[in-house]
Symmetry: C2
Subunit: 270 residues, 2 copies
C-alpha cells in the first residue's frame, strides 16, 4: 500500500480522458494532473522538442512526492517514453503498449488501424509494438493533425460541419482497408468517439488508449504493491497557461463537474 | 545609412507575409527572420506567456547586430509591444498602429471590422488605437481561433470545405454590420485574402497588417537615417523546431522560392 499520488500529464486537456478512466478504475488513487497549455499542441513538434518538454513536465510532477507517472499524451508516449523511463527510478507508463496489447487481442482479421498526431504516426511506435506482439498484424496509420486543435477549440460535437468534414476526410480512405480494430492513438480523440464510430461503422472496434493505460497502471501498482489504501481519492489540476480557461473546459473531458480550482505553473522553470 | 539587418519574428510562418512586403518595399535591407515553431500557435495564450516568449524571440534576434525589430505577429503586437519597446534601445515596431492608421484613412462610413486571434481581440489594442486616431470610428472585433492552425496545416485554398466553412462561420455575422473596412489582424491571414474577400464582398476593403507595417518600417528607418545602402538585400531564416518543414512551407508565405536553408534555434536558451 502506498498513499502517494500518481502524476499524470498531457499537452493540454486530452489527458483528462485518461483521468476519467483512472477515477473509474482506481477510485482510491490521488492524481496530480499537469496540462502544458503554454505549449499545446504537441502533435506537430519534433522528437527533440517533445523530449525537452516531457522532461520538464516530469520534473514538475516530481516536485510532488509521487509514486508513478502516467504519460497521458499519445505524442510523448510514441516519441520520448524510453528516455523518460531510463531517467526515472519510478514506474513511467505510456499509452502505446497497453493499447497495442488490447488491439492484438481484439483483432480477428489482423488488420489494425491507427489514427494519431503527425509526430506519433511518424514515430512508428504503434507499428513496432503491434508487430512485436503479433508479426501477422498489418497496421495502417493515419495522421490527423487537425483533431487536437479542433477538439481544444470545442469542435467535437456531432452536427458540427467542420469536425465532421475533417473526420470524413481523414477516415474515409481507411474504410476500404478491411480494418476491424482502430486505435484512437491520442487522448483527445475519445471526445470524437461518436463521430469516428459513425464513419467507420459498427464492425470496427475503437480502442481508447487512455482507458487501456488506466488498466495497465492498475496492474503495475498492484504488482509493485503500490496501490493506495481504500478511500476516496481526488484530482489536483495544474496548467502552464490560462488555468481559468482550463477549469472551464476540464469537466467535459473528465465527464464530471470539476471540484476545486486549477493551479497555474511556470513550466519553464522546471 | 546603416547596413545592419532588421530582425523580424512571428510564432511561425505567418510573419513571412510581412517579409514578402518588406522585400518589395525595402529591397536593399537584410532581414533575419525567426519563427517560433516550437511554441506555435501564439493566438490562444495569455498575455504573460506571450510576453515571456516575445522577450526570448527578441533576445535571439539581438544575438545578431540588428538595427530594428519588426514584430510580425499580430498577437505579440497587441499584447506585449509596449513592454518590448520600453526594454529596447532599438526601434521596435508592431503591426497594430500602422494598420489602424491605414484603416482610419480608408474608412468612409467609420465602421471598421477586425479579425484576429483570441488574444489579440481580447487585448482591445486595435479598438484603443483606432479610437485614439478617430473617436467616431466604431470597431467590431471577431476572434478567429482556427485560422492559424488551419493555415499552418496548409488549409487556405479556395474550394477547401473546411477553411471555407470556418471562414463563413466567423465572417457571416460581420456581413450585416455595414463595415467598409476589415483589418486582417494576423500575418497568417493574407493567405486567406481570396476566401475572406469573397465572403465579405467587394465593397469591404481588406487591410493587410504586414504590408502596412513594412511601409511603417521604411518611414522609421528613413527618419532615423538607418536605411541600408542600395544593393540587393536578403533573408536569413531561423526556426525553433523542424526547420526542414519550415523550409518546405516558407515559399508559399514569401511568394517566392526559398533561397538557402532554414537554421534551427534552441529558443529556450534565450
Amino acid at each position: 500500500m502506498d498513499p502517494r499520488p500518481v502524476g499524470v500529464f498531457d499537452s493540454g486537456l486530452g489527458g483528462l480522458t485518461a483521468v476519467h478512466e483512472l477515477r473509474r478504475i482506481l477510485p482510491s488513487e490521488n492524481i496530480i494532473y499537469f496540462g502544458d497549455t503554454s505549449r499545446v499542441p504537441y502533435g506537430g513538434r519534433s522528437a527533440e522538442i517533445l523530449l525537452q518538454y516531457a522532461r520538464q513536465d516530469v520534473r514538475f510532477l516530481r516536485s510532488f512526492d509521487i509514486k508513478a507517472v502516467l504519460v497521458a499524451c499519445g505524442t510523448v508516449s510514441t516519441t520520448a517514453l524510453p528516455a523518460l523511463q531510463q531517467e526515472s527510478d519510478l514506474p513511467v507508463l505510456g499509452v502505446v503498449e497497453p493499447a497495442c496489447r488490447r488491439a492484438a487481442v481484439r483483432t480477428k482479421n489482423k488488420r489494425v488501424g491507427l489514427i494519431a498526431t503527425a509526430a506519433s504516426v511518424r514515430s512508428g511506435a504503434y507499428e513496432r509494438t503491434l508487430r512485436r506482439l503479433d508479426p501477422e498484424i498489418t497496421v495502417v496509420g493515419k495522421a490527423c493533425p487537425l483533431f487536437v486543435p479542433l477538439v481544444e477549440n470545442g469542435r467535437f460535437r456531432r452536427g458540427d460541419t467542420v469536425i465532421e468534414t475533417v473526420a470524413r476526410e481523414y477516415l474515409e480512405p481507411m474504410k476500404d482497408l478491411g480494418l476491424d480494430t482502430l486505435i484512437l492513438g491520442c487522448t483527445h480523440y475519445p471526445l470524437l468517439t461518436e463521430i469516428i464510430g459513425e464513419i467507420m461503422g459498427p464492425e470496427v472496434e475503437l480502442i481508447n488508449v487512455g482507458q487501456e493505460s488506466a488498466w495497465e497502471l492498475k496492474r503495475t501498482l498492484q504488482s509493485l504493491d503500490l496501490l493506495a489504501p481504500e478511500g476516496s481519492g481526488g484530482v489536483d489540476l495544474y496548467a502552464s497557461d490560462q488555468p481559468e480557461d482550463f477549469a472551464l473546459q476540464a469537466g467535459r473531458f473528465l465527464q464530471q463537474q470539476l471540484q476545486g480550482t486549477v493551479h497555474g505553473v511556470d513550466i519553464h522553470r522546471y
